[in-house]
Amino acid sequence: MTATTRSNMDQLLTEIEEIAGELNDGPILDGVETLREHRSSAKMQLLLVGTSGSGRSTLANSLLASFDLLPRSAVLKQPITLALSHGESPVVTLRYGDGRSMALSSGDLRQALLEPPDGVERIEILSPGDLLEICDLRIESLDASRENGEWRDILRASDYIVLVLNASALLSEKEKRFIRELLAPQLAGTRRGWERTAIVINKMDLVNEDEREEVLEYVRRFLGPFAGEPPLLALCAMHQSGVGSETNPAALAVRSLMADLMSRRVPLRGRAIREALEIMVRELERSAMTADAVAAAEEAEVRAAVEEIQAKQKWTQGRIARLQRSIDGFLQTVLRERLWRQAEQFADRLEVQLPDEVGSVEDLATVRRHLGGYVEAVWGAFLERRVEEARESIEQELERVTATIRDDLAELIGGAGPTLREALQSVAMEQDSPHVFMGPRRGKHRASNIARALSIHGLIMLYWSPLLGILSLAGGQVIQRAFKGEIGRANREALTASARAANRELEDEVKRRIGTQLSALSEHLQVAVAAAFEEAVGRITETLDERSGMGHDVVGRRRRLTEILQQRLPRVHAELSGLEAAE
């Protein structure tokens, strides 16, 4: 970043802060603060984020070429922030939420990661190494219980983001939500956002070799709707231990990514800040327009609106109840019925298909061993697809409800509506494969029964009359061989019948899960709708009160807002575009 660009950025940040201050926009003021802190560091800020067990520590060790800096553990570590920066020798410090700190020996790091003492907020590690001389590394866990706002701040303060996925448990609901609701909106809001991101698919060695391309394709397909094409790197956990890293393609890929990153660190850093500013400018435009609309209202109109809101308290409650009924009806009737019908159709189709499937495998022992797992697997895939579809349907429904609330509020006074997407974000829908026990059934064939009786007789007689015992056992075997075909067919039929019963059991289980989850989701969203509606009404009332408080200063206020909208924000916008062109 050149000195001129840096000074321009400083000015832009100050201008945005002033505008946000005038508009009393708290979140933007917080954002400016975060960006200032971010800029105060001369180093590039690298974020490594993933679920516990995805191999972030192993990857970080690999990136830092220090193979035992961070402990790689069999036990899942606690989701705690790790901040690594450069130091002449390794130093580990625990930072507590109340400002205290405590130095640790590096040998105690493992224990601190497994069970951090109460109150510890983050662990800071100083370590020597080339990479840390030019960038700070932050490691975050998706399992940490953070508000979306906190995640946004973390993403905003990062120049480059590496999302680590575990190939053997790919794209869990938590990972999907992170990409869908935090990463993509943060990056897609800008033109070249995804250039600051890489996705590492770790532990690829846990996936069969012939399925690895499918794994990559699956991730690409998932990213498709977000128009994101970040570099995808497939790594093997075993290969990151340093052994053979000179020739190992995975280690070379990591090194090449890092080399590329380092060569582009200056423009990347500048772009990260500029993109964060662009998002803030758009937010400020919206905020200024709303404020202008309120200020434009005449004093009498404002008074009338306040009175109308007070008079419509009952009406508001009625609207909330109606929206709640609408959501409940959608989830517990429309969606549930649709999913149940689909489960029934699926069970019917599978039932028809099962005899052919059982017949397609010659070895009866293989059928017996794997049939239950097969039925579970196809139901698992069915459930996963339905959960994805259901989520989309629910999002559409929430958009509709949001629009209704906006219309209702517009009736009050053109107020800005809430967004309900966040309410859905906090709910995970279970899509783990259901399990089933395939009940044993015997093939009904007379020869089989006779052979069985002879075998048991032979086994008992071995003790008292070995000759008779051996004859009986041999007789049983002869009968079994003589009727092998018929007995085999009867056994196959019995297995098919078991699989059909398991199929129906899974249908019931899947329907039960759907019913329970939709019921819980309905309750959750009804509360969220009421809260959103009331919050929006509260916001309108607050704005109107503010407007009433302006008194004679309305003209001055409007002049300042017009200046913000027509001169100051367009100027900031133009300068940002100029910076982008200069990149």
Binding site: T58, F67, D68, P71, R72, S73, A74, V75, K203, D205, L206, N208, E211, A237, M238, R338, R341, Q342, Q345, F346, R349, Q353, E357, V358, S360, V361, T366, V367, R368, R369, H370, L371, G372, G373, Y374, E376, A377, V378, A381, R385, P434, H435, F437, M438, P440, A451, R452, S455, I456, G458, L459, L462, Y463, W464, P466, L473, G476, Q477, Q480, E509
Partner: protein
């Protein structure tokens, strides 16, 4: 109404994709098996009696235990769902079909066992274990029992039970001799097979301390394992074994190795390359792991009476 037109994966495609193989092996013993266990099983399986025994023992179980199984309470997603989750998880990891899991009262003890053949097998958990064992410990026990199914021990274990049945004391001398010789050999195999299954249990629960507590819990009974200092327990066992060395021969007639030996066996396994390879976990830094040969040698010495 939405119609489903998406294709359903075929059984062949499922099998080609690896099925639910987990740590299981198509034929042969699983990779975590004690070598002697694998070798003896291979020998027994190669004998023509295997098929005969399969049918006979399947019938024997129906005759002897049919009513008991029928009236026991099934463990599934509706009854004891948490335990069922453990059974499902262990089955998946060890690469076996989810077994018929049952619970019931069984002589006031707390234990679990499996019986059956390759065709039909069941896993029984006693009420005592269900009530007194915390879930992580139960995970180890269930993993251990599923290990017997995965390693295909059941038919010979059931045979061993039949052969060592005291009710058979009225046999003719020749049959008694046969029973003594074959029974002792099978007992030697049985003790090694338990080592295999302890490893299966540890692979399932993934925590050595939990596995040790579960094993100690079998000795401590209702008093529970929490109060036991396991290192001290092992030290005392070694001292007492030296003092009462004259009774060591009795172990020849045990179906299971002594609990302290099983704990030592697990400790060896938990610091072996094999364990980390099978758990697909990176080994802790700075710890020297046992090679497969070292593990086999040390475990062999341990299991010997």
């Amino acid at each position: 109404m939405t119609t489903l037109d998406e294709p359903i994966m075929t059984f062949q495609a499922y099998l080609e994709a690896g099925g639910d193989r987990g740590l299981g092996a198509e034929g042969g013993s699983p990779p975590y098996a004690h070598p002697m266990d694998g070798w003896i099983l291979k020998t027994l399986d190669a004998m023509p009696v295997k098929h005969v025994l399969d049918t006979a023992i399947d019938t024997l179980i129906s005759v002897q235990l049919g009513r008991f199984i029928a009236q026991s309470i099934p463990i599934d997603h509706k009854s004891f769902p948490q335990l069922y989750e453990l059974v499902s998880e262990c089955s998946e990891r060890l690469g076996i079909a989810v077994p018929h899991a049952l619970m019931g009262s069984f002589g006031g003890s707390f234990n679990a066992f499996t019986a059956g053949t390759d065709e039909y097998n069941f896993l029984f958990v006693t009420d005592g274990l269900l009530k007194h064992f915390p879930l992580p410990e139960a995970h180890f026990v269930v993993g251990h029992e599923c290990g017997h199914i995965a390693a295909k021990h059941l038919i010979y274990h059931t045979l061993l039970e039949a052969m060592t049945d005291t009710a058979l004391g009225i046999l003719r001398p020749a049959a008694r001799m046969l029973r003594l010789v074959a029974g002792t050999a099978l007992l030697a195999w049985s003790r090694r097979s338990e080592i295999t299954c302890d490893r299966a249990g540890l692979l399932c629960c993934g925590d050595l301390q939990v596995a040790e507590r579960a094993l100690v819990g079998l000795v401590a009974g209702f008093a529970g394992a929490k109060e036991v200092d396991i290192d001290q327990y092992l030290r005392r066992y070694r001292e007492m074994s030296d003092y009462h060395g004259a009774s060591a021969w009795q172990e020849l007639f045990y179906t299971h190795p002594m609990i302290p030996k099983r704990i030592e066996g697990l400790r060896l396994f938990a610091r072996s390359e094999l364990y980390f390879e099978l758990r697909r976990e990176a080994a802790p830094a700075g710890v020297e792991l046992l090679s497969r040969a070292e593990l086999d040698q040390l475990t062999g010495e341990l299991v010997r009476p």
